[in-house]
Symmetry: C2
Subunit: 380 residues, 2 copies
């Protein structure tokens, strides 16, 4: 039905009306006091979201750009880097670090499973081996969340920098920069931020800045030193994406009103409800372990012999809900339900009802209403 | 007056209501047929705007990012590059090329004057000396337009690549990529495109692609090969700024409706009217030569002893018009009137009336209505 499409993919995520409308305002000059007031406000709110007293920088780029800014600002060519890989994004960061001539060691885990912190501990047994460890907190491609807190501890003990892809974890679950001692935290706007894509963010610790000051990596647009310098005047070194920053201001205000703990609890409940609902419909969760399941997105296996993309197609056509497919080796094998950002209980019930409808249309016997019932129980 | 502010700076430029409202739509998934249809449409329109049969790529970045994508994709570390510098932006590209370890030679001209094509010819006398020449077509900081057509010819004869900052020339005057044999043309959305900032564009010639394929510069987000590969499927390698691409589609449609020749003629008339109006008010144009004056922006000197920023302050406060100041050594020495993008005759008359008002408020004798009258004559 025209204009009825609803996004339940892990990004872009649904955007509140007030955030959408804020973008329809005329841009203002970005070298003005009015714009500096906006930058000051969003920067303070970003600190709150990152749970840090340090800097959080806003770039006109995507989440991948935010990761590149972290890598090229933190590292120098030839630096030894350990990259933890259990999905498509971890794999991308290994490729990126190699592209910038870092010496990359990959610690990989099977797709669908979380990285074992003990293996990381072991890989970091000899202090000083690595300059940095790159980790994908929530691996969007497989719907797995890695156990960042102990891993961050091992990275600190090793004396390395942590470079964290928190693209689908920030705003969905705990990523307390200061408490966990994270050095670079990279995110993108179309995720937990409840706004459209086009902004990237990088949180940087004091230890992170020391590394940036010493790094010799050739860089310009992604040079975080330039952003830090401009931020002192509540400005940006290059033209900011002004209308997206309007959206950011409104969205962060809504997040503050809800409160971090409430936001995290909501994501946790939704993850549980989707997983329980899928099970009740006789579908297996691709991520077997509950604690390894990401709070932002759930990967579900279709019944044996059924194409995941065919199920998604039915759900799109009949119920106007967009779900995500599998990527690379998971193509057509799983479908992914995003429950990230601006998602309420109603949305979770709806998607389970739609999955039931698709199963029926495909001739699969399901206990009527079982998915919704299981979710309702968990949401109570 | 609240919400009455009007932008007459060289970027961000005024945005049509339909473009603003298009951004207030929900994002759609960017890995869908619906989004590919949008990308196909905007890419075809971008080819029209660039007057090329080649590729034009859309990046989630600023104009500076588009220039970086050109430089890091075209060149390799150690490449010899000639950078033409007659203002702040030319200076920035020299710094950028140095940051990426190119061997940079600067050919500079006094601020406020255009680069002499004969000097470029001379600098390029020995074929094969330089791998590329970087040129700022319209130098926004000084309101000077460089004479690109003959310079592009000399660059071709030399066998070098041309990397053109067309940020405030594309959509204001002729930048026919194919006719002039331009290899890389970089722009940003908040200029002639009549939309907010956040998108960067790079047009690439066939000769440009040959260089990109051979370049060894470390790069990832700004690797144009990745964008070309994705564009074959009407997609992008990294999450695109979806809502800004909605805006782009509407804005380019409006530009096509007006027609390139009409758009260029409008900018030419407005430039002439602002210059004539300023003269009639007894103010000197900072760019003395008419043909060196940019069609996007006019730099005006205040009466002797008067602060340019004070004049801008009055114009902002009394008439709700934002003008741009001078940068670096021109700070407080000039004010710049943008007439780029979504600007009509009314806007040009208004700004001259406001300048007259500010002069009167500062106690300067001016022939009543002289600026408006001179402009009206020229606009007829």
């Amino acid at each position: 039905m025209q204009d009825k499409g609803f996004l339940m993919i892990p990004g872009p995520t649904p955007v509140p009306e007030s955030v959408l409308l804020s973008m329809a305002r005329h841009p203002i000059g970005h070298r003005t006091k009015d714009f500096s007031a906006v930058m000051e406000d969003v920067t303070e709110k970003l600190r709150w979201l990152h749970q840090t007293k340090g800097d959080v920088l806003t770039l006109a780029t995507s989440g991948t750009g935010a990761m590149e800014a972290s890598i090229v600002s933190a590292l120098s060519p030839g630096d030894k880097v350990l990259v933890l890989v259990n999905g498509k994004f971890g794999d991308r960061w290994a490729k990126m670090a190699k592209a910038f001539q870092c010496e990359v060691t990959v610690l990989s885990e099977e797709w669908g499973k979380a990285i074992d912190p003990e293996q990381v501990k072991e890989a970091l047994a000899t202090p000083g081996t690595y300059k940095a460890v790159i980790i994908t907190h929530s691996e969007t491609s497989t719907a797995v969340i890695n156990n960042l807190e102990p891993i961050a501890g091992y990275i600190q003990s090793h004396g390395a920098l942590s470079i964290v892809d928190a693209v689908t974890s920030l705003g969905a679950t705990q990523v307390p920069m200061d408490d966990w001692g994270l050095d670079f935290v990279a995110t993108g706007s179309q995720k937990g931020y409840m706004m459209p894509p086009g902004l990237g963010f990088v949180g940087v610790s004091a230890k992170g800045w020391e590394a940036v000051e010493k790094s010799t990596m050739p860089r310009f647009f992604f040079d975080l030193l330039k952003y830090r310098k401009s931020l002192k005047d509540a400005s940006t070194p290059f033209t900011p994406a002004i209308n997206l920053i309007y959206a950011l201001q409104i969205a962060l205000g809504m997040m503050q009103q809800e409160g971090l703990e409430n936001i995290f609890a909501r994501h946790h409940r939704h993850k549980g409800a989707v997983r329980a609902g899928a099970s009740a419909l006789g579908l297996a969760n691709y991520v077997a372990e509950d604690k390894a399941a990401a709070p932002a997105v759930t990967a579900i296996l279709p019944p044996e012999g059924v194409s995941a993309d065919k199920m998604r197609g039915i759900i799109k056509k009949r119920y106007d809900i967009a779900l995500a497919g599998g990527q690379d080796q998971l193509k057509d094998k799983i479908f992914r339900v995003g429950h990230l950002g601006f998602v309420c209980d109603r949305d979770v019930l709806t998607v389970l009802a739609a999955v039931e409808g698709a199963l029926r249309e495909l001739g699969h016997d399901v206990a009527p209403g079982a998915g919704v019932a299981a979710a309702l129980k968990l949401l109570d």
